[in-house]
Each structure stands twice: as C-alpha cells, then as structure tokens.
C-alpha cells in the first residue's frame, strides 16, 4: 500500500497557509475538541499511549515529558516550541513553518492545554525571515478567530503565543540554551537537573517541544491512538516522520514516511538513488552530530532503536548521503569546524576540544598531518564525551571519531601521502 501522507498531506496546497483553507480541510477541529471535551490529564494519557517520541533529536516520549510538569507550584507554566532548526542536514521544520503554519499552531494549542500553559513561545531561528512572516500572519488569523487569546474556542482556557526570533546560535536549539536565550541572555545551556519541566523559563515549569512533534498532535486527536500506532516499525517507534535527504542523491528532498522506513528505500526509491549511478560511500542518518554509516551498515530501518543498534542515532533525520567522490577528511574537518564555531564555551572539554580537533584535522587535510595525529584526535574524542553540561561536545566527538574509525585508510593516506586518495580531490 502506498504511504498515506499525514504531516505533509496539505503541503503542496499553496493556500493552506491561510486559516480559511486550513479550516476547510478539517483544521482546528482537533484543538477545539481537545479544549472543550477532553481533560488535560486525558490529553497527556492519550499522547503517552500513542508512543509519540520527540522529533527534535533526542526521541524522548512526549506525553511522559508533559507528565513531569508539577501542577501545584502556583507558578505559571510555559511551553516553548523549538523552531530553532539548525542541525546541519536538517530542514524539515522549516517546511511546516513556511507552508502549513496552522498545523503547528493547532499542535501548540493542544500541548499548551495539556500542561495548563497560558503563554507559549515559538523560538524561531533568526535566519527564517519568510517563516517569521508566515507564522506572524497565521498567529494573527488565529487570534482574530478566537482560537488564541482569552477563552479560546469559547472554552475556559486562555492561551496566547509569542513569536520570538533568535539571532544565530546553534546551541539555542538545546532546550536549556533556548530558555536562557529566551530570557535575553547568552544561550548557555544549564546544568540538569533541575530539568525544565520543573525549573525552566523564568524559573517556572516549562515544556520544550520540537515543531514536528507538535504538528503530530492534531492528527492524533482527529484519528486516535490505534491509527497512530499502526504507523511505524514497532510499539516504540510510532507515527509519521519527516526525513531530509540531502547530498549525493539524484532527487534530494524532505519527505514524509513512516518512522522506521528502510534507509535504502528512502535513498533508492524515494530520492532516485545515489547521483549519476555513483557508488555509495556512506550515510550520516541523523544530522551532523551522529556517527556515519558505511554502505554495508545501511540496511537499517530509520527509527530510534534500529539506528541505536547500529551505533548511531536517528537524531533530527538529516540524512546526508555521500558517494565515492566525497573526501572523508574534508567532511570531518568541516564537521569539527562547525562545532568549534558553535560551542558556547562554558565547558573546557568542549571549548578546547572542538578547537583543537579543527586545528589537527585542518593540518591533515592540507598535507601537514603527523603520524600521531589520529591517535591524538581519538584520544580527544574520548575525553569530550559525557563530561560537559550539554551534548554539543559529544556531537562533535561522535561523528569525527566514527569517520576516522570507519574510513581510517583515507586519513592515513592524507597523512603519509600528503594528498587525498579520492580522485576528485586529488589536488587537495
């Protein structure tokens, strides 16, 4: 049976950005039903029952995250939609934001109601100018309809949503970095615990959910738990999923399939195969922070647990495909440079580790590598994992370590021959 689109069902309709069209296609029914007929507790229980896991990268069960919010503190509860999409290789949330913003707003309404939040924020990546205009207009439309504001949908629940622009910092996609940034500070991640559910924005209980996660909610409350669970590879990996397939494929695209679609099906059947009939060299399955897979490891389902079993991660589903013309040393260097650029600098291992890793990879790439360099980088990697406030340090160490371990001969060739073993890069 062909896959039936859920999140992207209306994405090709240029008018679905407008609230009238969105409603005509069945929009806001789920949110209205939820706030008028279902108790917040049942919204949480239903979401738990679907098995929905966060789509931002960590894959934490959404309903469970909501259930950690204490109800009796007397403090306001906040919801932050994480729309700071910046993991290299990832461009799925942007599609929802720019083309179907009401789907996201409806999801936020449902989540906010579930955790008893009356003020929600969309932390939008500063580079998304079009996304800002689209969301701003959509929020105005929703307010004008009474779907946001006081007593939404004529219920007893008040909710407004503030659209907040970031200003260019990858680390603000980390949930506590996001909270700090939203408080008007540098986006320095916080030590956990306390987790944001207990002590988040302004010291109050806070839930941070990714755009795609929230976009699932209207569908769950329209179609039910059993329907949601019927999609996906197993009980722990349920629902629809967006995949961003980029790099050396014939038809790069953001596509929707079930969580757990086989990786090679995504590459060959959905994205037209490796470009120009070239040989597959490797795939980074979940954004630049996750370990690369060699071709022989690519017979795998794209879900949280199947990829973990292969020693990598589903992450943000930024699937980057490399053919035989790609130089692994160059890719490792570019990866390290990104994290060196984006480290917030709080933790020594990360601040120094990312910088040194870039320096050493730079000299290998440019023909000045030394015999001991690979051992040194791997030693750095070991010292950068699991030791810092947030996982940016791990996110640099894990992919670089995997590239060296899995394509070691290429790095050694660069060091001993002082040039690249990939013909296309032979001048390097």
């Amino acid at each position: 049976m062909p896959y039936e689109l859920v999140l992207f069902k209306n994405i090709v309709d240029p008018r679905v950005k407008e609230i009238d069209r969105y409603i005509e296609l069945g929009g806001y029914k789920a949110a209205e039903k939820v706030v008028k007929e279902i108790t917040p507790k049942d919204v949480i229980e239903t979401t738990k029952a679907t098995g929905l896991r966060g789509r931002g990268g960590a894959g934490f069960p959404t309903g469970l995250k909501w259930s950690f919010v204490p109800k009796d503190t007397g403090k306001p509860i906040y919801l932050c939609c994480n729309a700071d999409e910046s993991e290299p290789g990832t461009c799925k949330d942007r599609v929802i934001i720019e083309r179907d913003p009401h789907q996201l707003i409806e999801g936020i309404i449902i989540a906010a109601y579930a955790v008893d939040c009356h003020l929600a924020f969309i932390y939008l990546r500063g580079e998304f100018s079009l996304g800002y205009r689209v969301l701003d207009k959509a929020l105005q439309e929703a307010r004008a309809r009474g779907f946001l504001g006081g007593r939404i949908f004529g219920s007893g629940h008040d909710l407004d949503i503030v659209l907040h622009s970031g200003a260019g910092a990858y680390i603000c996609g980390e949930e506590t970095g996001l909270i700090e940034s939203l408080e008007g500070k540098r986006g320095h991640p916080r030590q956990k615990p306390p987790f944001p559910a207990v002590q988040g924005l302004y010291g109050c209980p806070t839930v941070v959910n990714n755009v795609e996660t929230l976009a699932n909610l209207p569908h769950i409350f329209n179609r039910g738990v059993d329907w949601f669970k019927s999609i996906g590879s197993n009980e722990k990996n349920t629902g629809p999923k967006l995949y961003c397939v980029s790099g050396h494929v014939n038809k790069p695209a953001v596509v929707e399939r079930e969580l757990g679609v086989p990786l090679m099906e995504l590459i060959n059947e959905v994205c037209g195969g490796v470009r120009d009939g070239n040989k597959l060299k490797g795939v980074i399955p979940g954004g630049s922070s996750v370990p690369i897979l060699r071709p022989e490891e690519c017979d795998v389902r794209m879900d949280f647990d199947s990829l973990a079993a292969k020693g990598t991660l589903l992450g943000s589903c930024g699937v980057m495909v490399m053919d035989e013309t790609a130089c692994m040393v160059r890719l490792a260097l570019r990866t390290a440079r990104f994290y060196a650029e984006e480290t917030c600098g709080q933790c020594t291992q990360c601040r120094e580790g990312t910088w040194w890793m870039e320096q050493v990879l730079h000299r290998i790439e440019h023909g000045y590598g030394k015999a001991d360099d690979l051992r040194m980088i791997l030693d750095m990697c070991a010292n950068m994992k699991g030791v810092t406030i947030c996982v940016l340090s791990d996110a640099c160490a894990m992919p670089v370590e995997a590239m060296i371990n899995k394509y070691r001969e290429e790095f050694e060739y660069h060091i001993t021959q002082k040039r690249c073993m990939v013909p296309a890069h032979a001048h390097a």
Partner: protein
Amino acid sequence: MFSKETEDKFKHLVSLYPRKRSALIPMLLLAQKEDGYIKPAAIDYVARYLDLNPSEVDSIMSFYTLLRRRPVGKYHIMICTNLSCLLRGSDEIEACVKRELGVNLGEVTADGLFSAIEFECLASCTTAPVIQINGEFYENLDVRKTEEILDELRKRR
C-alpha cells in the same frame, strides 16, 4: 534615536513578555534593521530601556552571529558551506561570489552594494547549495545562476 515605527515596536515587544529582558534580542534585531548594524549608541539605548548594563548587552550581542557591529553591503550575502552544501558544490559558489564581488569574505565592496560571509547550515539542505541575501533564500544554485542573481541585484542597485 529610532524611528516612530521602531519605537512602537520596542514598546510592543516589551509588553509581550513576563519579564522585559526577554525583548533584548528581538530589540537588537530591530535596531539593526533600522541602522544596518548595531551602533554603540543603540546598545546604550537598549540597555537603558531594559535596565541592563551596556557591557552586558554588548557581551550578549557577541554571542549571536546575526547581530553585527559593523555596516554590511546593501545586499548582504550569507553563503552556506556546511556538509550538505559542501557535497553539492558550495566551494564553487563561494569562489564565484568572491570573484564577482572582487573582495574577500567579510569585506564590503567599494560602492557599498555587496558584502558576503560564510555561514553555518541555513536549513535548506535538500535544495543545496544555498545562499541567503538579506534574509531571503536562493536555492539549488550553480555558478551561472549565482552570477545571474548578482547581476540582477547590480541592475536594481
């Protein structure tokens, strides 16, 4: 210090948040929109507005790559060179932009029309290689298309 429109937006922004300090970064973005970059006087002004120390605002500003202390060209080009763009030829796009502008990355052309910088992943990986000019995306680029875009902007001035 700022136009009536920007002042009104400041007032509105501050009213949106439970604590006014949250308006800091959006306010700096607005100040930059009006002046092209963030002037020292704007830092002082925003700091006073939010009861913050100017040096603290300065420090926070330095954390965010979109906030600039120096003027850029009328058309400011951000070239994505991260993995997906690199795999699809961002080297050629970068070389093309430099050649066309005749200046290095980070510099402004003598006529003040253009500036370009390298940028981290712009979240447009499936339409790589990409650039942004004044915040708008230009996708699926090749050298010829890039040259045409720059020509078009030169004509528009």
